[in-house]
Amino acid sequence: MNPDAPQSAAAVEDLVQLVAPDGSRTDGPRAAAYRDRVAHIGTDELRAMYRDMVLTRRFDDESTALQRQGELGLYPQGRGQEAAQVGSAYALRPQDFVFPSYREHGVMQVRGVDAVDRLRIYRGTEHGGWDPADHNVQLNTLVLGSQTLHATGYALGVQRDGLVGTGDPQRDTAVVTYFGDGASSQGDVNEALVFAAVNNAPVVFFCQNNQWAISEPTSRQTRWPLYRRGEGFGIPGVRVDGNDVLASYAVMTEALERAYAGDGPTFVEAYTYRMGAHTTSDDPTRYRELAEEEEWALRDPIDRLAALLHAEGRWDDVWAADVEAQADAMAERLRAEVRAIEDPSPASMFDHVYAAGHAQVTVERDWFERYESETAGTTTEAAR
């Protein structure tokens, strides 16, 4: 037995879980503390969550296939983390702002970021893909962990704008940053925790512990449960079953309330599993065992929610078939539209250097466009 292998979820201490893998509601003191937070979640809400999780997974599968077909340069799979992402995103208010890493396809789905736009960066045609202000979702951050600092800074701005602790649900704003167990070892993340704590910033550190930092198991990242990482910084922490969409939602509402009220940051560890590869460039069979993957397959978050819907009589075959049809349609649209994404005009690189116009950028853009027009047809041909 590999001593570094992640421990089985059953043995994980202090885990907040509301739905067991078999679809039944979980009892116990940990569940009791959070059960009320999902009492209002009915059939419609559960089905909506299910739909977003299914669409997220289909997006994942189709994007992976597109990469394998040469249409994307790279794609980081999120398979297995749908519940943590969708559940936590469902708890957000529209004015809240999300700072993702690069695997938060489920959060994007819930926030309404267009599926094609999400892939532009992975096709290498754009640095971003959407306007962060449209959905209050910052662009993917591929530099590990640095988005936690951005989120903390943004949260300090929110605080100074007086959008914390007003008691007005339309005004009180929180910031969420998503990162992983691997990023938790980064200096940036630790600095962000320091700044967030001492400034009482309205930010939620949502750490998806998917057990593997590429090929490094969590045991090589920390000797201490990650959800307790915040203690030394003075930040309360909680560990949630990240494959349980309701628990993820419930824990997130608690953390958000703390932020809205001006009570400062929270560290959430969503205990989950990266069922796919780190990215399409990675081959997990080289460092982890099949038995481990099979064990986690039994805790598939989508299967669990389906089981809950069945168990509580909320399932409907016609509705489920429609969800599948929506997924098929999205996949088809992705295939067609991603392939049709055209290379951006080179001059567009000047577009977002500054929010407003800037004299020097204007000069450089003019020069560049003149250069491009003068050399058109020569350099490009030569380059091919």
């Binding site: 990469q67 394998r68 040469g70 340069g73 096709r123 990675d282 069979t285 080289r286 065992e289």
Partner: protein
């Protein structure tokens, strides 16, 4: 029937090629979009590729076990609606167009790296490899992996456990080439190497199993692979004989461009062999003597003014040569060689006096035959011819063979002395250092005098320290006072 081709994508970040491990479909099979059609192995991982098309497989364009460049078409699929003969051209063209490049030459749809160009024209490093056919596909029937029972068959797709032979070297055919790899079919040893090293080995066409590992724990390092490749690869010419770096002639630049490797040939090779033979068979001893050669310098001046010597070069070396000949006359045992095979010492009754000469082609040691018979003038003439011939690069092997004693004039390079290595087959070699004016005690006073150093290396098997020392003293004696030559002449 309208068909589409799928160019091999870059499934990693900046990969340029992959090996076809196993086809999951055969000609005639019907495939749907995203059905797995093939398993490939890149430098990073084993990867299953999903079909971008729906339709019927018309041809597999790359055989299992071959390495294919990114951008090379690997499969041809006929449109789903067209199992029958050609529909009107244009009808299903929209789908074909939507996939970008379908004809295999220059894919626009590969995003990372280098574009793909025409794979066959790729000018990257030479290597042994089967190129996937380009152009009209010679509808080769798919080769359904006729893996010999002994080779580790490609693992079934759904068993990514640890037992999977990730390290498997492609079963012989591809990279075998130079290396005798076919000898270990069954219990093939797992070769340990990091992925970039594996990639390098593939690029260079080196079978990892043929590489001698030197890394910790028997891991094959980058250097091992490069060394193996260099042993096998043909070389490119790095420079030409008329360049200002003639020593690089016929060499080849190493892969990292930081070194040039030049085959050891002709003069260099003979020099090396001679020096190794000499240094490791004859135990060398070197003795030194500093000597006031002011009188020799005066003699040189005198001789230069002498009409008889007008057409020859008179140098201190000439006097040194004469001094050595006189010393040999007094100590003929030093003019000898060791015959190891016969277990005999061969004493020579003639002196073939070798002079080490630096030439554009390298070190050459021609000798003056029967130098002991020459008077000073013919000796000067002989030395002059010998050095002129050497500088012109026309020294014949005969000129260089049969030497019995050698002088090396390191003084011309401004060097005081050295510990010369014997010319093989000789028992002693004299190094003649630079002559400088130095403060010297002369007749009880310190005076500026012309001073030089002599060094004599000798083969201690047949020359004892006493003999070598007496010999060198005698050479010094003549240089100190050339008149003494009259006494011994």
């Amino acid at each position: 029937m309208s068909t589409q081709r799928f160019p091999l994508p870059d499934v990693g970040e900046g990969l340029t090629e992959a090996e076809i491990v196993e086809w999951k479909v055969a000609v005639g099979d019907t495939v749907a979009v995203n059905d797995v059609i093939v398993e490939i192995e890149t430098a990073k991982s084993l990867v299953e590729l999903p079909s971008p098309f729906a339709g019927t497989v018309v041809a597999l364009l790359a055989e299992e076990g071959t390495t294919v460049d990114v951008g090379t078409a690997i499969i041809e699929v006929g449109s789903a609606d067209a199992s029958a003969p050609d529909p009107a051209p244009g009808a299903p063209a929209d789908e074909a167009a939507s996939v970008g490049s379908t004809n295999g030459a220059g894919s626009g749809s590969v995003l990372v790296g280098y574009g793909t160009g025409d794979a066959a024209a790729g000018s990257r490093r030479r290597r042994r490899r089967t190129e996937a056919p380009e152009g009209p596909a010679p509808t080769t029937p798919p080769v359904p992996a006729p893996a010999p029972a002994a080779t580790p068959a490609p693992a079934p797709a759904k068993s990514p456990g640890i037992a999977k032979p990730m390290m498997s070297v492609p079963a012989a055919a591809d990279t075998a080439g130079a290396a005798p790899t076919g000898t270990t079919p069954a219990g093939r040893i797992r070769v340990l190497a990091k992925p970039p090293v594996r990639k390098l080995a593939k690029d260079l066409g080196v079978d990892l199993a043929s590489v001698q590992p030197t890394g910790p724990g028997g891991i094959v390092t980058r250097e091992d692979v490069v060394a193996r490749a260099e042993a096998a690869e043909p070389k490119t010419l790095a420079t030409y004989p008329d360049d200002d770096q003639p020593w690089l002639a016929s060499g080849s630049v190493t892969n990292d461009g930081r070194e040039t490797r030049v085959p050891v040939k002709s003069v260099r090779k003979r020099t090396a062999e001679a020096m190794v033979t000499s240094a490791f068979t004859a135990p060398h001893v070197t003795v030194f003597r500093t000597v006031d050669v002011t009188r020799t310098m005066k003699l040189v001046e005198k001789l230069k003014a002498d009409r008889d010597f007008a057409d020859v070069r008179v140098t201190p070396l000439l006097i040194a040569a004469k001094a050595a000949l006189l010393a040999i006359k007094r100590h003929p045992e030093i003019n000898a060689s060791w015959d190891d095979e016969a277990r005999e010492i061969v004493y020579k009754h003639y002196v073939n006096l070798g002079i080490a000469a630096a030439t554009p082609r390298g070190l050459v040691v021609p000798n003056v035959k029967d130098a002991h018979r020459h008077e000073l003038l013919p000796l000067a003439r002989a030395l002059g011819e010998l050095t002129a011939t050497a500088r012109a690069g026309r020294t014949s092997p005969a000129d260089m063979s049969g030497g019995t004693f050698t002088i090396t004039n390191v003084g011309v390079f401004g060097i005081d002395t050295g510990t010369p290595i014997l010319n093989p087959g000789e028992a002693a070699i004299l190094a003649f250092g630079a002559i400088r004016q130095q403060p010297w005690v002369h007749k009880g006073k310190i005076k500026p005098r012309w001073v030089t150093q002599l060094a004599l290396s000798f083969d201690h098997r047949l020359v004892d320290g006493e003999l070598g020392s007496r010999f060198l003293s005698d050479v010094a004696r003549v240089l100190e006072d050339p008149a003494h030559g009259l006494v011994w002449g």
